[in-house]
Subunit: 693 residues, 2 copies
């Protein structure tokens, strides 16, 4: 196949190979043997095509075909270029996370204020205005991040780049918890949107939420494309229907014909009357700040836009902020004018109350609003299923998370990250009873910590570049205002929501950071031990070899293992471990007859153990080795059955597994697995009639 320099000789030939003993003698002439799996890319280099990753089982191929129909074929790094987003699709893809929070932001402010009685709800509108101002500052601040990081400027990257590793990891920890909560909160809110129109579902809300998370995880494990088309429809249906609703409401307000709203008596009775202090107002502000979650998605995804990438991303960011601000303000305004009360049981959402007050309960438009809200929230959860595994994989590549997080499954998804995310999100939904209000206190802290670190990093960046960039003062000021604002909100949220659950996140983030640093130290220390100096001369093998084949008797799998062992080294012996000397004597006699050139040692194991005596025997072999020579490498050849089903996995190979684990810890020991399967066992023996066992 390859010459010494690893060259592929592309000349059309006869498909033959001249085989000699030394690699240098072999130069192969093959007629594109690499198609259809690979594209030839120069001497010693191939580029894998899609076919190389096609699942090799029939079931796998079936799934791949279904997936290709549903979501399109998998995207390679090269192909991604043709899939760029324009402003229209970009708004749909990136805004779902942020805009979907309008489904619960107003409601969460009201839920806090109502603790001081329905009268306190007049503060909903001022608090909303305050939050929209923070949103405007953040959007402005991120305009500069987008411009400065055209290759994607997530908080982890910006903070690590400008502030150092630890701030970067704090941002990463905050984002990871944030993504988990995006899933839990969005799904809980999506379920609430559905229980508003189908109250019968309410008692199953935990099960429904768990089911939705599992479903999204499965779809993502199978591989999904963040295709503009999939996102556009629900996002724009939601935008049009909600904006339509608000326009209708404002029109009726303008002409002075607002409908009557009556809260159920039970809700009014459930009201408490805490004093309306500054703390309660701050808590309401904290709850509403959930509105800003998802804002950073755009800065992360700049490279996904069509050129000019930063410009398009900036436009999307501004559009997103504008739409969101309009909906948020309109919703809070109308809810206040109608005097809507939040449902203390969390069965019906404020949006649903608003809609049915204007257009009537159970009308098609009521259903449209609720269903499109639910779908948008599910899509928001889905974006976390792209973001969490992607950030984990970046962290894994940087050595801060286990490497498994950076593996794409055979189906090209970061399977490990998806599973971990789904498990934690499910646990949160179950523990918090599927309640949005219970989950919210955990949510916002992480988001604002990440904002603050990212914007502080930008300030530092402008300061460093002050020599090159004359506008650095203005730029630093904009990001500085962003950093201070989000920092203040972060502290405010952490303080007012501490006892309600924010403490969990404030403990979790440092724990995550410590864990990531620990992992990085582990990997670094092993890498240092393994390092080879780039100029060192690499020595050739200098140890003798020996082959040991543990055998249960004589059968084709054993013969195959013996033959593999023979070809590794002629110093080979078989070892029979058994507690039955009579059977062993029979096997030895037969061995003498059929495999007389391979010594067979019988190790009687009266304690009926296999692994212990075999390891002890290998130790004995080592001890018998001449003391003046380096200990030899021992190849232990083990036949392993190729299981075709789950029950075959139980029936076979359990001994092999235990043996492998025990042998892998041994010095100078190499384990050779020779597979055998029921179907294509190497036909070394003429297929006679079945013989005695």
């Amino acid at each position: 196949m390859t010459g010494p320099g690893g060259e592929f000789t592309r000349a059309p030939g006869n498909g033959r190979q001249l085989k000699g003993r030394k690699p240098a003698d072999r130069r192969i002439r093959v007629e594109r043997p690499y198609s259809p799996y690979f594209r030839y890319a120069g001497p010693g280099a191939l580029v894998a095509m899609e076919a190389a990753s096609v699942p090799r089982t029939r079931v796998g191929r079936g799934f791949a075909r279904v997936r290709a129909i549903l979501f399109g074929r998998p995207i390679s790094l090269h192909a991604e270029l043709g899939e760029r987003l324009n402003v229209f699709t970009g708004l749909a893809v990136f805004a779902s996370d942020n805009i979907s929070s309008s489904a619960y932001a107003t409601e969460e402010i009201m839920r806090v204020l109502v603790l001081a009685g329905a009268g306190a709800l007049v503060l909903t509108m001022p608090i909303t205005i305050g939050i929209v101002i923070v949103l405007a500052i953040v959007v402005t601040s991120y305009q500069q991040t987008v411009a400065a990081y055209p290759h994607g400027g997530g908080s982890y990257i910006v903070a690590k780049d400008n502030l150092g590793t630890r701030p970067g990891l704090i941002a990463a920890g905050a984002l990871l918890t944030d993504y988990v909560l995006t899933v839990s909160v969005s799904i809980a809110a999506g379920v609430a949107a559905l229980t508003s129109i189908v109250p019968e579902l309410f008692e199953h809300r935990v099960a429904l939420g768990v089911g939705l998370v599992v479903l999204i995880a499965m779809v993502n494990l199978r591989g999904i494309r963040e295709s503009g088309a999939v996102f556009s429809i629900p996002t724009y249906v939601y935008l049009v229907s909600i904006l339509g609703l608000l326009a209708l409401g404002l029109f009726r307000f303008a002409i002075g014909s607002m409908p009557e709203y009556h809260a159920p008596a039970a809700w009014i009775a459930a009201q408490q009357a805490q004093p309306l202090g500054i703390l309660l107002i701050l808590r309401a502000f904290s709850s509403g700040s959930v509105a800003l979650t998802g804002t950073e998605a755009v800065s992360n995804g700049v490279p996904a836009f069509k050129p000019p990438e930063p410009r398009n991303a900036q436009i999307v960011l501004i559009l997103m902020g504008t739409f969101f601000g309009l909906i948020f303000l309109g919703m809070s305004f109308l809810a206040g004018q109608l005097g809507i009360l939040p449902d203390p049981t969390e069965q019906e959402t404020v949006i649903s109350q608003l809609t049915r007050t204007f257009v009537g309960a159970g009308t098609p438009f009521h259903y449209l609003v609720q269903v499109s809200t639910a779908v948008l929230l599910v899509l928001a959860a889905n974006t976390a299923f792209a973001d969490f595994p992607r950030l984990s994989s970046i962290l894994a590549r940087d050595g801060f998370l286990p490497r498994v997080f950076s593996f794409r499954g055979d189906r090209l998804a970061f399977s490990y990250g998806i599973v971990v995310l789904a498990v934690i999100a499910v646990v949160l939904i179950v523990v918090f009873g599927g309640s949005v209000t219970n989950l919210i206190p955990l949510y916002t802290v992480g988001v604002f910590v990440a904002f603050t670190l990212s914007q502080s990093g930008m300030v530092r960046r402008w300061w460093r570049r002050r020599a090159e960039d004359s506008a650095w003062r203005r730029k630093a000021a904009i990001n500085g205002i962003g950093a201070v604002t989000t920092g203040v909100v972060a502290i405010e949220v952490a303080a007012t929501k501490f006892a309600l659950g924010a403490w969990i996140v404030l403990i979790l983030i440092p724990v995550l950071v410590a864990m990531m640093l620990f992992i990085a130290r582990q990997y670094r220390s092993v890498a240092t031990k393994l390092a080879v100096r780039p100029d060192a001369e690499i020595p050739r093998p200098h140890r003798d070899e020996r082959v040991v084949v543990p055998v249960p008797g004589i059968n084709r799998a054993v013969v195959q293992a013996i033959n593999v062992g023979r070809s590794i080294d002629p110093d080979i012996q078989a070892v029979l471990v058994s507690d039955d000397p009579e059977e062993a004597a029979r096997i030895q006699e037969r061995w003498q007859r059929q495999l007389s050139d391979i010594p067979l040692i019988f190790v009687e194991s009266p304690y009926r153990a296999l692994v212990g005596p075999l390891l002890a025997y290998l130790d004995v072999l080592d001890r018998a080795w001449p003391a003046d020579k380096p200990a030899p490498v021992t190849f232990v050849v083990i036949p392993e059955y190729v299981a075709r089903s789950w029950w075959e996995r139980i029936l076979y190979n359990q001994n092999v597994k235990r043996l492998r684990t025990a042998l892998l810890g041994r010095r100078h020991t190499v384990v050779v697995n020779v597979p055998y399967s029921r179907e294509d066992i190497e036909p070394m023996i003429p297929p006679d009639r079945p013989a005695e066992r």
Copy 2:
């Protein structure tokens, strides 16, 4: 180490080995290198000593030491001979299972009768007498089994031997379910004995039961000896205290001074008044038949006795039946005379009521009876932890269960059987709420099915031997009476308890039999495929070889893998799969410099997959092979990190696992695992200062 015939040359020498190229040239002179692990047992044969199975980790050795202090050292097959049981210890070891049922047999009869009101309890005594008669018949019948099977005659063996495979498997299925229920019922009854004196424990009875099962399982996993001493004390304490209690009671009955018994008003109020029909009486008989469980333990364990084994076993069987009969009759009689009512909440046992009525609640004797009852019941559960794994291992050796069941763990216990037993027993305790009464209907059917099959097998045996054995008629008659009696009881129990839970067992046994037949067919079909004719000439390897080493770059682990690969075959190449052509170019440049004699192929994987492209590349290599030669064996050499802790298992080797699994299914592919660890990475490179990664 070994010459061609596998001889160990024992002559004292200089511990050197003359190494030549051909095995025949090597004859080694070693000074007992095999001690202390092995005893020399002739040419090419060693016998493993206890040291060969000593755990190799420090924790493992610590555990082994603690265990040796608690339970004695592990027993080898040879050593077992010196540990034989006499009548005194034998009664303790084997009777615990059977005699412990006296703790609940009377009570279970009463629980059924009381459904027809307290008046129906007068039938307790007649039913007890009936069951004791059945017991006498079974004991008599088993006398012959013991004599006929001095090597152990469990129902599976006797039924398989005389009636064929399927009846044997039915008996085995019945016994397996029986052992599981022995654990669940004994532990539930043991917990009831404790809650009788410490009512506060009652609400935790499920947790207590689960905890006890887990504890027994752990002790057994660590390895336990059925040592006479451990069993003797609780068994004889129980026997003495219960017989003393009964003697006291009968004495007071004889002198006409029985104490007063008052049932709590709630118990009396809880009485129902079903009509006392024949069905209820039969159900009470079925419940009491639980008394016979454990009788077959002796016939199973004949070889554990001192010679003359059958004689000693027969004496123990008779003693066991006598003691049990006495306790059962005495308990039913006194409970009837006192007018004791069973506690409908199952918190206080009948034994406890009996004891406290005679000697006072909370007296030391009351505690002694209850605690010794609980301990004996735990020991009874423990015998199932010996019996279930032992029967599973016999079934596994006969090919009817997965082979794992026949493996002794490093700690010499049949770990798999122990774990499976514990899991099912725990599930039963949880599902049935830790209630003895709820579990009883499942229990008795299996026992009597096994009895019936075993005794029928004995009848068949005598018929077959009628030519040699003149007394065959008498013997067949005795076993025939046993078979008919137990058969009738089996049908009676199945019918009356069907709806209460016996149906579970009646479905489970056929399912188990079908599963075992399926497993046997699997193993047989593979064994047939693998069989080698005993007279066939075994061919030498006839395929060329090729070595492929997947590498992530250059480090010591890679160098070690390359060197192992080199020594397998000079036709070797390295493959670098990466999605980053720039990094790959750097690695290629360095490779050219340091490992120029090994070709390095770069496979670019734009889909970021590893396994797919590597498999595809191996396919390409095979396709380039000359069509007129047999395809070569491909050795894929994979470095594998030796994890020292659970987090290292997460951090490393996940890719290796996926690769191994994928490669093991490939034709003519052998996987070579080259381990590397942080500590003793092969020092091939002089340990310089750490170099670039």
